[in-house]
């Protein structure tokens, strides 16, 4: 497949504006502002069937249409570059090696949505990308692709970089808005939706890095041609970030709808010699784990929900028989506990409780009742929280309990791990590290 999102990234100068222009960059922007109306672009995005690449898969064209119908101005355009879902590193190559593709996508989007100001909300953990993006933004201003009278047309768009500071929850769009407003990143109740009342109470269009990176191509070839790539209900190219126990982990640009088997065995070189597959997390740690017999499932927003999981961000984490999943899920719960913003009690207390139970089971002190308690806690978190963080934590626990009960029971019965024959180190007292600021006295 011809590369669209990762085009030219093997070139060492790919992040520079000269190189980007030499490879045909910013031509589509020029074409869009001279030959198309904002309405035309929104129609092409609608026809493309593009669905948001941040994890939720909301149709981008529909989001844009709702925002464009709102009579309030100014409209803010925000790029969600707070890629924090463990296992996800797909946006990094765009941010670090192809930043002008993102900027071109954002400027075309701004023209379509008549937005005059945009922000890139970049996670604090990407200091390299911060420098590259700042330079890329300055370079785009220098060439007249940002600022006043872009390409000598009566169209202006200013773009700023805003750095996060290590809060996963700020990837949730309303928490991101709070954070951009200089507040604690706690999600807001919806409705109103950001498209009508977002940042500073103005219509706000928030899209993922990869979503914006698709816009120049859609504008160039048209929505209909684009929609022929990938699967019918979730078209387009997709970046998959594959990690864990495969021979060649990394970021792969592949069509939507490819099977997990093709990704693992066809592109990532399969497992290490002599190992067997134990399970796969298909879309980051907030998506339920799949057992090996389900890996022929197509990777897209439609098919994964049919086998009890979710597409998420396309972050595939592969586990072989050397991995203890009780340990993995204790770590995942520690993550959710640390990242819970504390607004909803079921999530704030439940994630810590689940982490504690999994820690006890792993270190050899678990009882049969622990399994029931774990299930009970998970069921009392699911559906009782403001944002999807609590749901994610609960649902992945329930899926793990259902599908890997034997392994959990082995720990309870034998007081040790089936992988190495030893109990896990008890982390229950000393977990965390980045968290819990020490109080000044």
């Amino acid at each position: 497949m011809e590369k669209i999102l990762l085009k030219n990234i093997d070139n060492p100068d790919s992040a520079g504006i000269e190189e980007y222009i030499r490879a045909g960059g910013y031509k589509t922007l020029e074409m869009a502002v001279t030959q198309m109306t904002p309405r035309d672009i929104i129609d092409e995005v609608k026809n493309s069937g593009l669905r948001g690449r941040g994890g939720a898969g909301f149709p981008t064209g529909m989001k844009w249409q709702i925002a464009s119908m709102d009579p309030k101005f100014p409209k803010y355009l925000i790029c969600n570059a707070d890629e924090g879902e463990p296992g996800t590193f797909k946006d990094r190559p765009i941010l670090e090696k192809n930043p002008h593709l993102l900027i071109e996508g954002m400027v075309i989007s701004a023209y379509a949505l008549q937005s005059t100001r945009g922000y890139i909300y970049l996670r604090g953990e990407y200091p390299l990308a911060a420098g590259i993006l700042s330079r890329a933004i300055s370079a785009a201003y220098g060439k007249g692709y940002l600022g006043n009278d872009i390409l000598s047309r009566r169209f202006r768009f200013d773009l700023y970089l805003h750095r996060g500071a290590g809060a996963y929850i700020c990837g949730e769009e309303t928490a991101l808005i709070e954070s951009l407003e200089g507040k604690r990143g706690q999600p807001r109740v919806k409705p109103p939706f950001p498209v009508n009342a977002g940042v500073w109470n103005k219509p706000t269009i928030i899209n993922n890095v990869e979503t914006f990176a698709n816009i120049p191509y859609i504008t160039e070839v048209g929505g209909k041609t684009y929609s022929k790539i990938g699967s019918k209900d979730s078209p387009g190219p997709k970046l998959f970030s594959v990690s864990g126990k495969v021979v060649k982990p990394g970021v792969y640009e592949l069509p939507m709808g490819i099977t997990l088997r093709e990704i693992i065995y066809g592109h990532c070189g399969g497992l290490m010699e002599g190992r067997t597959l134990k399970g796969v997390i298909p879309g980051g740690v907030s998506t339920p784990i799949l057992t090996p017999e389900k890996i022929d499932c197509q990777m897209d927003f439609v098919h994964l929900s049919k086998v009890g999981s979710l597409f998420g961000s396309g972050a595939v984490i592969v586990f072989d028989d050397t991995v203890c999943l009780v340990k993995v899920y204790e770590r995942i719960m520690q993550f959710f506990e640390h990242e819970s913003c504390g607004k909803c009690v079921p999530c704030r207390e439940g994630t810590g409780w689940m982490r504690n139970i999994l820690g006890r089971i792993g270190s050899g002190g678990g009882t049969d009742e622990d399994l029931d308690t774990l299930e009970d806690v998970a069921k009392n978190v699911a559906g009782k929280t403001f944002c999807p963080l609590g749901d994610g934590a609960a649902n992945v626990t329930l899926a793990f309990l259902k599908q890997y009960r034997d392994e959990i029971e082995y720990h309870v019965k034998n007081g040790k791990c089936p992988v190495d024959g030893l109990p896990h180190k008890d982390n229950r007292e000393s977990h965390g590290g980045q968290s819990a600021p020490v109080e000044q006295t």
Binding site: Y126, S179, I317, G432
Partner: protein
């Protein structure tokens, strides 16, 4: 220059920086996150004085600023060593053996998670995912990224950070 003069010059640039940031956002409160990064850089960490200074330049109450600052785990909420090691311990790094590296840092440097070495050279933070899952285990040292870590590699890398 006397110490006082130098300090006042330092404060001047900080004030300028924060004033410059105000052009980027339509509300003053929005300046907090970049302003906190800026004061952290000049004070070394977010001490009460540092937070008070942000308050002086923005008009946002210090208590409100502290509430915002402590929500975010990447700000430095306590004094730290000269170099900050941010080691990822999330799933992909965990199954690549990061626990051995945590033990190594303790054994070799007496460096514990959340702690600083006795000579004030290194501080360690265990991180949630830093987006380097393809080449685990991974860390940042003062913002420079390193991956595919082993105990030997860490030892060699840290030699550069005196």
């Amino acid at each position: 220059m006397t110490r006082e003069e130098m300090e006042s010059k330092d404060n001047e640039t900080l004030k300028d920086k924060i004033t410059g940031m105000k052009r980027t956002y339509p509300s003053i409160q929005s300046v907090l996150m970049p302003a906190l990064y800026a004061v952290e850089q000049s004070y070394g960490w977010l001490s009460q004085d540092a937070i008070q200074e942000v308050s002086n330049h923005t008009g946002v109450p210090a208590a409100e600023i502290k509430g915002v600052a402590t929500f975010y785990s990447m700000y430095r909420h306590e004094p730290m060593g000269r170099h900050l090691v941010q080691l990822c311990t999330n799933v992909s790094c965990l199954i690549a053996g990061v626990e051995d590296l945590v033990k190594f840092l303790d054994k070799k440097y007496g460096l514990l998670p959340g702690g600083t070495t006795k000579d004030g050279r290194l501080s360690l933070c265990l991180m949630e995912c830093i987006g380097a899952c393809g080449n685990p285990p991974a860390m940042l040292v003062d913002g420079d990224a390193y991956d595919n870590l082993t105990c030997e590699a860490i030892e060699q890398i840290l030699e550069k950070y005196e």
